[in-house]
Symmetry: C5
Subunit: 131 residues, 5 copies
């Protein structure tokens, strides 16, 4: 039933995590950070056996959020990708910024999709610039 | 009278709810979440008989907001739709992101409208790219 | 003198009000909400004789802001209109969203201006789509 | 030396001020608000001899920020102009909104620049609409 | 290994710093502010031997963030550049605003890249305006 469904989804989310990415807060779950690309740097940072990072108090701010010294804006499409598996970038967002972050966090399966978006926007722009 | 009208609207809103969607806060009412699509997952999560979710302290953050591990940006048009029944998406927002969330929350009546917006923006873009 | 002028403007603003519109905070004054359209629902909600709304603690959040279950984004041009009487909408903002809110709050004098903006953007888009 | 330079810039900034413009916070210095247009209403509001405004507790919020009942979005380019003297408006921002605020705050030297931006965007749009 | 890699990156970030740039908060590390352009004003402000700035309580706000009286929006691409060395500006952001900040903070290696972006957007716009 639907009530069960919502419940199951919630119980999956056993472990809420707040990230402070360059000054903006993102709330997500450990399972979102780990399921899609378990070997990525991002997944490894929040793996259960990574005591070095998770136990290190200098890596959290005063609200308990994990500090990451990167762009918050370009991190958003990456977190959404980890949530549902689609690469979705708004029109005003520079896809090169998202690529830079995907490489940094090691979300390898996302990279060819972003590269295609960059290629497409180039050909669209040049079509326009040449008319 | 107008004073009555405002009053009635307010008394309808008996039950304020704050959602923490991926780190951003949304304030709304239980009736907004439930009236439009009572059988959707979103409505079921906040139904009176869903003790499992509403009574579960792990599902709220330190400010008492209900935690949802999804994109905040693409949730906005969905919440507005539940408020007034119109599908309104800003120009810079990728409608595919909104579609993804409508499917997740189970707001079925919204889906064909979003699909039409996606189709329209494609034909608009290709008209431009081909000139 | 200029010092007097600023003073007068400030003394007019006798009564500051904070609104929590769908989760975002707006600070304004009672006179802004009431002078332009005294009979609108928004003005009536904050009228001195509306004890039902203003005295109702369930209508304020923990910071004392008045709760309104509507879109924050599309409320901005409406509040600006009440401040200075001009209808100004940014390019990326969907004017249909602003229209929806103007109707809800009962800011009737704003409606034909927004409808004209919607018409103009349609003819602009179709000129582009047809080239 | 460079260390000296940064120091000098900092010592100039003797007096930090936080403004609550319509609900958003802006941090700046008294000297920024006053140097560029000393006779503007904005400069006068924060002049040392304006005891009426600066000593008036009803003009500050609970965080000590000075309350101004105006649009935050269109105030941004004005504050930047006072910081460095250039009129810079993003593409999606409606320049008419910035003009409205420049007139309100009395930043007269900025007005012809904004008017030119409005004219330029009109002729650009009509060139596009007519193709 | 990957676990090592994430660890190394974290231990590099020994010193977290929060900046209050014009009212918005940015979290970064001292090494990000210093490695790329060690002689820039920004790097000098946070150098270990700059006791004048770092020891000066008037330069921090109540949350301990370092106060900088400049635009937050145009600072973002600059901070990202210091993080990974790429100049990435979103479509809606006016590159002239970023140039102004690069000059102010003394990030000299970034300036020719921004100037090229300004030139490119001019020729793109004029191509469009002339069709």
């Amino acid at each position: 039933s639907l009530a069960k469904l919502s419940l199951n989804r919630c119980s999956e989310v056993s472990d809420w995590i707040t990230l402070n990415v360059g000054g903006r807060y993102f709330t997500t779950s450990r399972s979102t950070l780990q399921s899609k690309e378990p070997l990525s740097m991002l997944a490894r940072m929040f793996a259960d056996d990574n005591n070095m990072y998770l136990m290190n108090p200098s890596a959290t701010d005063s609200r308990g959020a994990y500090l990451i010294d990167r762009s918050p804006e370009y991190f958003e499409p990456i977190l959404n990708y980890l949530r549902h598996g689609e690469v979705i970038i708004d029109k005003y967002v520079n896809p090169r910024g998202v690529l830079e972050e995907a490489v940094f966090y090691g979300i390898d399966s996302m990279i060819p999709h972003i590269q295609k978006i960059i290629e497409d926007s180039k050909s669209y722009d040049s079509n326009h610039a040449l008319t």
